[in-house]
């Protein structure tokens, strides 16, 4: 008996932690999401009335920010994938004895605060940075165009901040590919592009799926990049939730928005994993 119980006893601290810090807050959030203000009470006083209309109101009111969140997150994810794939491929197959060094470089930004690095992008894209004058002199942007406080800046910031979350899983899965299977593909009449399409890419799909999820999910709920690099016109759903909670003290709407975001992400991710068909690969 004692032996059978041991694994459960070992799981207990983990379950306890999840219960206190995940299950209970979620339940609390669910409860809050259907509350309404106490008649004649102070700001921030709510009572449970099971008003599910809260969800519809919250969504209708913030459709635009929801849409923007998913579009920005999608663009940032695709950009991160486009940058990370060649990077991870090069580190896995071409970096030789410098492999670990390059991996350290990929995670090196984590040694500095996330906020600080995002603020730094303000400088990079600002009037005094080198990007704007360069683009102006080449004529890609007009003299009156600025890059700060734009959707462009927000997406760039998100791409940059989530890049390592894309690169590392991609690297892990590309690094596991036996280079001899790529040689075998060439040996069997496939040129470089066909080998990529038929062998490298399918074999790295677990990394692509993991990387895109690790980038897309936090990016869709992100508000720091939009807050620092954006403008009121680039508000994402994260910014709305943040201001409802901390500024307007409208807890029910913030909770309803959080749940809606969670559900939307869950549905998208499920569909995506089904489509990518990775169950067989992992």
């Amino acid at each position: 008996m004692g032996k059978i119980r041991t694994p459960y006893l070992l799981l207990l601290p983990g379950f306890g932690f999840l219960f206190v810090f995940f299950i209970l807050p979620i339940l609390n959030l669910a409860q809050t999401s259907t509350q309404t203000p106490v008649g004649g009470g102070d700001t921030g006083q709510y009572e449970q009335t099971f008003r599910f209309q809260n969800y519809i109101d919250a969504f209708v009111e913030n459709k635009e920010q929801f849409g923007r969140s998913f579009v920005y997150a999608l663009i940032a994810t695709l950009l991160a994938l486009a940058i990370s794939y060649p990077l991870a491929y090069a580190i896995a197959f071409k970096s030789g004895k410098y492999k670990n060094f390059f991996l350290v470089l990929v995670v090196a930004p984590f040694f500095t605060s996330f906020l600080l690095r995002t603020v730094a992008w303000k400088q990079i894209l600002g009037e005094e940075g080198f990007v704007v004058p360069t683009l102006r002199s080449v004529g890609i942007i007009s003299d009156s165009t600025t890059l700060t406080s734009t959707a462009f800046a927000v997406v760039m910031g998100m791409t940059y901040n989530f890049l390592p979350f894309m690169t590392l899983p991609l690297f892990a899965s590309i690094d596991r590919i036996d280079p001899r299977t790529l040689e075998a593909s060439g040996d069997l009449y496939a040129n470089g592009f066909t080998t990529f399409r038929k062998v490298t890419l399918p074999l790295s799909m677990p990394g692509v799926v993991a990387g895109t999820l690790l980038t897309f999910i936090p990016a869709a709920g992100d508000y720091v990049n939009a807050a620092i690099l954006g403008s009121p016109n680039t508000k994402m759903i994260g910014n709305v939730i943040e201001s409802r909670y901390f500024k307007i003290v409208d807890y029910p709407t913030a909770a309803a928005l959080s749940f809606t975001l969670m559900a939307a992400i869950l549905i998208l991710v499920t569909v995506y994993i089904r489509k990518a068909g990775t169950e067989e690969l992992v």
């Binding site: 001899r180 075998a184 069997l188 040129n191």
Partner: protein, 382 residues
């Protein structure tokens, strides 16, 4: 560069190939012709350049100097996918994400062959695994994967099939079985096979012609019997089977034979089997060619007298003896256990005799340990 290379047929001709990695010469001025339709083996220890040579033929490496022709077509710099050459890789390199059927169909689909189903099924029957078409490679045993790797290559009917230590990962019994099967399949499909191995027994079992490689060069090339009976260098004498090499001096001439003096005793050997450049030689005799007899028994042929049995190992089909000669050297003797006679005992004083025709002679300045310190079993990975 042309795609015509893909239809090239004929003998494979390597002309003065050198491959350098920095200061290291992996392959050193190697020239070689592999006739169409033959089963050719490149045999040598780890690091002798045989795998590099194979990779240059496949197009996975480019020679630093030299050219490669397939029939009339120069394929030295063509890409692997443009060559009518397929490889059975060491550890097989099957595509883990594709079924066995799709693994085999891979090359056919790339070349736009029409009847993929029929071709794949035909080759699956040839390797006797038609029931595995729907499985993934990880669901197969090592021996099955090996056959699928072979099927994936031969289904394309290449002008040349390269086998890179294809049996290295199999256990001994399966390896023996696959050797016979590979030989049979080669005859059946009539393709040119180039087989790279460090296992001399494997090379001898399968190949029509063996090229023994050492330090980037070919030591000797010939049929298995030629190489075994008449090795030209100490490396070949030791790497292919075992040899007794005894210091001697050529002292005379007798028609087609040479007379040699071996520590004061006279023996004779065929002139055609002497690879010496002057009078100083090593006399070579394979251990199973020796006969042992007690001192006063009359014997024919070459005789070396004054031996003493130092060690006796009975191993069933034969008994192996170590015989110490008067000059201090221990000779190895394998006697078949086919005459019902009790084996000799340790300490017996004996003569050693053999038919002169089995004698070969090497240059007297050779390093007689060359090729003998290599234990092929330790060298599974190149």
């Amino acid at each position: 560069m042309s795609f015509d290379a893909s239809s090239a047929r004929g003998d494979l001709i390597l002309t003065r190939i050198t491959k350098e990695y920095g200061d290291f010469k992996a392959v050193d001025d190697l020239s070689l012709t592999i006739p169409k339709g033959s089963f050719f083996a490149l045999l040598g220890p780890s690091g002798c350049g045989k795998t590099t040579t194979l990779r240059m033929i496949a197009g996975l490496e480019e020679p630093t100097v030299g050219s490669i022709h397939l029939g009339e077509t120069d394929i030295t710099t063509t890409k692997p996918y443009q060559r009518p050459i397929n490889t059975v890789f060491q550890n097989y390199a099957l595509f883990p994400h594709l079924t066995i059927f799709e693994n085999i169909a891979f090359g056919l689909r790339r070349r736009g062959i029409k009847d993929v189903d029929a071709e794949v099924n035909k080759v699956l029957s040839l390797v006797e695994l038609p029931h595995l078409a729907g499985r993934k490679p990880t669901q197969l045993s090592g021996g099955q994967q090996q056959r699928i790797a072979l099927a994936r290559a031969i289904v394309n009917r290449p002008a040349l099939l390269l086998l890179d230590e294809p049996l290295g990962a199999l256990d001994l019994k399966l390896r023996r079985q696959m050797q016979i099967e590979l030989k049979w399949i080669q005859k059946e499909v009539g393709l040119t096979f180039v087989h790279v191995t460090h296992d001399q027994e494997e090379a001898m079992t399968m190949a029509d012609t063996i090229a023994v490689m050492n330090e980037g060069k070919i030591e000797q090339m010939g049929s298995p019997a030629d190489l075994y009976d008449d090795p030209e260098t100490a490396f070949v004498a030791n790497f292919l089977g075992q040899s007794n090499l005894i210091k001697g001096t050529i002292s005379g001439n007798d028609g087609d034979s040479l007379i040699a003096d071996v520590f004061g005793q006279k023996i004779s050997l065929p002139k055609s089997r002497s690879h010496a450049v002057d009078n100083s030689i090593y006399v070579g005799i394979r251990p199973e060619k020796f006969r042992i007899s007690l001192l006063n028994t009359p014997v024919n042929g070459n005789v070396l007298t004054g031996g003493r049995i130092e060690d006796v190992s009975y191993i069933g089909v034969s008994t192996q003896y170590q015989v110490e000669m008067p000059w201090g050297q221990e000779l190895m003797v394998f006697e078949q256990n086919d005459d019902g006679v009790a084996p000799f005992n340790k300490g017996d004083a004996v003569n050693i005799s053999w038919a002169p025709v089995f004698t070969f002679a090497l240059r007297g300045d050779e390093d007689i340990t060359a090729g003998s310190e290599v234990n092929p079993e330790d060298l599974d990975e190149e």
